[in-house]
């Protein structure tokens, strides 16, 4: 089967999902009114509420929602075979993903631009807001652990990568200086800084540089310093955390914004080159790469046929684990948060909501399918299924993407050695973009909740350091694959709560709500099952692994406990949500009788 077929399936899914299902729901249920003033125009203050053109907002929404989730999630999920991963990406987006993104925007637009904290307070219960914010804090902590581990343990330990990342960051700072201080033309700034970033990534691949970076990381066989953490992993994770600290406490215009600007071009050009390379190459999906491995996603037996005799840890049963492993590739709670707090306040016209919210989600589906193909053909067609299994077994899902993308870009004329480094820098920058924002939010949340009792938390540095120390604890001590599943579970549990909030709102307005409520129930049951299963698996793995270091034991138990706490928080929220639904139903009946 040709590798372009999944892309064709994606295009058909977009035509059906966006062209028919989303438009029908939009027309019959939401009924956007172009004449109605949106919060962006009604409350325009030039600060939080500012109307923006629909195309601009589409780009903004896509950039805000696309991070490591739609790339790493589908790659890890290929453990069950590429077909289940592809099916969930397509059907998840078609039936759930766009529903959540779009309805979150419209809920906020129709409710005066209020965000989820205020809406849960008003629509569900006062305590729902507190629990929601606590839930978001711990969910973001798992996000930091999952992203930090990919960057610090996987991508940056490749000696060809760290210099490229550090140089791109330095070049980003230069872009900020050129834009804000020297007031140079943005086009000139872009051309100079992006060209320099390319040179920086290339410089990282020079053998002398690689030897030096390898020496910094303790040599070719980096020594263990505690638990199963090598010196290189410790060092580069620490560097990543320091970068996040600077991103969280320095003025946004000085650090995060210009670096993100240069990073955007690296990511954008990488996606274009990868897609172009795939179209030129259009290989067949290799027969040796299984469409379905087994129900447990166990690579041990699946990879045995490819000559790999290693024992791999099974992530768990296809349902519910695959559904949360794919994370943002199908549906993501993060999207609802940024949609309601950012996009909804810039929507100029109600009828633009579908294009912006659903359209960006369908584009993310395309990115997720492209990621599956980096594993299946980028690696599978060149080095076989065994290589994929080896990399995943070593916790190098980021490496799978970098290598797969490099093979694709090679067909667009870019050498593989440069492409691998480029892919890794691309992924690292994508992760950092979100990580700055997450640490900033965690700092603000801790200041609000603890600032009155412990005044230290009002200090920006202190709150950021606490968030980073907690993240470091999980990064250095957790099992990566389990942390990823826990992050995916928390992320999608957040999505189910967003859908529940939307359902309560639709019911309050007397509108049809099953199109949001059924996905909410499905995601809630799936994610709770996944979190509990993974927490149990973590505890079992800790108990059954002989001679486990104390730090690994403590870190994994902490991750499992966080998962259980998230489930408890979600149960309270759902309980309050059901009470709110009953209240509304009773109110509606009383109104009907009157």
């Amino acid at each position: 089967m040709n590798a372009l077929l999944p892309l064709l399936v994606t295009i058909i899914a977009i035509a059906v999902g966006y062209g028919w299902y989303a438009r029908t729901v939009n027309r019959r249920v939401i009924q956007p009114d172009s004449k109605k003033a949106t919060p962006a125009t009604l409350y325009m203050d030039g600060v939080d509420f500012t109307p923006a053109n629909r195309h601009v907002l589409f780009g903004y929404q896509f950039k805000s929602i696309a991070a490591l989730g739609p790339i790493i999630g589908p790659i890890v999920a290929v453990q069950w075979g590429w077909l289940p991963a592809l099916l969930w990406v397509v059907f998840g987006t078609l039936l759930l993903g766009w529903v959540q993104d779009y309805s979150s925007i419209m809920l906020s637009v129709r409710e005066d631009g209020q965000t989820f904290g205020a809406l849960s307070f008003r629509l569900i219960s006062p305590r729902a807001r507190t629990i929601l914010v606590l839930f978001i804090y711990f969910y973001l902590l798992l996000l930091m652990a999952a992203f930090g581990k990919i960057v610090g343990f996987d991508l940056m330990t490749n000696p060809a990568v760290p210099l490229g990342v550090l140089l791109v960051i330095g070049i980003g700072l230069l872009a900020g200086q050129m834009t804000y201080k020297w007031k140079l033309d943005i086009l000139l700034t872009t051309l100079i800084t992006v060209a320099l970033a390319f040179v920086g990534i290339w410089a990282g691949t020079l053998s002398g540089v690689k030897s030096f970076v390898q020496m910094l990381g303790g040599g070719a066989q980096s020594p263990l310093i505690f638990g199963n953490v090598t010196w290189a992993q410790f060092l580069w994770s620490l560097v990543v955390l320091i970068i996040c600290y600077l991103g969280a406490v320095l003025p946004i215009w000085r650090w995060a914004q210009p670096i993100n600007y240069v990073a955007f071009w690296i990511v954008f050009l990488g996606i274009i080159a990868g897609t172009l390379g795939l179209l030129i190459w259009h290989p067949s999906i290799p027969d040796s790469f299984p469409a379905f491995t087994n129900w447990d996603g166990n690579l041990t037996s699946a990879a045995a046929g490819a000559g790999v005799t290693k024992t791999f840890t099974s992530l768990g049963p296809l349902w519910p684990i695959l559904f949360v492993t794919i994370a943002c590739g199908a549906i993501s709670g993060w999207h609802s948060l940024v949609s309601s707090s950012g996009t909804a306040r810039q929507l100029e016209n109600e009828s633009d909501g579908l294009f912006v919210g659903a359209g960006a989600m369908f584009l993310e589906m395309f990115l997720a399918v492209l990621s599956i193909l980096t594993a299946v053909v980028g690696i599978g067609a060149v080095q076989g299924f065994g290589k994929y299994a080896e990399l995943i077994g070593a916790g190098k899902a980021g490496g799978v993407f970098a290598l797969g993308l490099a093979e694709m870009m090679n067909h667009a004329g870019i050498p593989v050695a440069f492409g691998v480094s480029y892919g890794a820098v691309f992924l690292t920058l994508m992760a950092l973009t979100i990580m700055y924002l997450v640490v900033r939010f965690m700092r603000v949340a801790s200041a609000e909740f603890l600032g009155d009792t412990i005044p230290f938390f009002r200090n920006a540095s202190f709150g950021s350091i606490v968030a980073l120390v907690l993240s470091a604890f999980l990064i250095y001590t957790g099992f990566w694959a389990r942390i990823w599943v826990l992050f995916g579970g928390a992320n999608q549990l957040m999505a189910s709560m967003a859908l529940l909030l939307v359902s309560v709102w639709l019911m309050a307005k007397g509108k049809s709500y099953l199109w949001a409520f059924i996905p909410a129930i499905f995601m809630f049951v799936t994610t709770v099952a996944a979190l509990l299963w993974t927490a149990f698996a973590v505890f079992r793995q800790v108990a059954n692994t002989p001679n486990l270091a104390v730090n690994i034991m403590v870190g994994n138990i902490a991750a499992g406990v966080i998962a259980i706490l998230l489930v408890l928080a979600a149960l309270i929220l759902v309980w309050d949500g059901i009470k709110a639904l009953r209240r509304l139903k009773t109110g509606a009946l009383a109104e009907a009788k009157a």
Partner: protein, 89 residues
């Protein structure tokens, strides 16, 4: 709509999407920073308009004509209830 207009529309759409991905966040943040500073300044000088017990200085009167166009948006923002989850974007 003619072919030329369609082409122009498509090009401007692509430009808009690219700008939205690359630079909109930067522009938005710059505007936000400027807006916040201006609103803070108005609060210090004209806070009595919101009932904040500030004894209006002489300069408030001199500044008033320049501040008038912004008073409605400033009031709107100052009086709006804010939530922690606003900080996510």
């Amino acid at each position: 709509m003619g072919d030329d207009e369609k082409k122009k529309g498509l090009m401007s759409g692509i430009k808009g999407v690219l700008y939205g991905m690359a630079g909109h966040d930067m522009t938005r943040y710059a505007l936000k920073t400027r807006g916040s500073m201006e609103h803070l300044f108005i609060l210090i000088t004209m806070g009595d308009l919101l009932g904040i017990p500030i004894l209006p200085p002489y300069y408030s009167l001199r500044l008033l004509p320049y501040v008038v166009p912004q008073i409605s948006t400033w009031k709107r923002r100052m009086l709006r209830e804010k939530d922690l989850t606003d900080a996510l974007a």
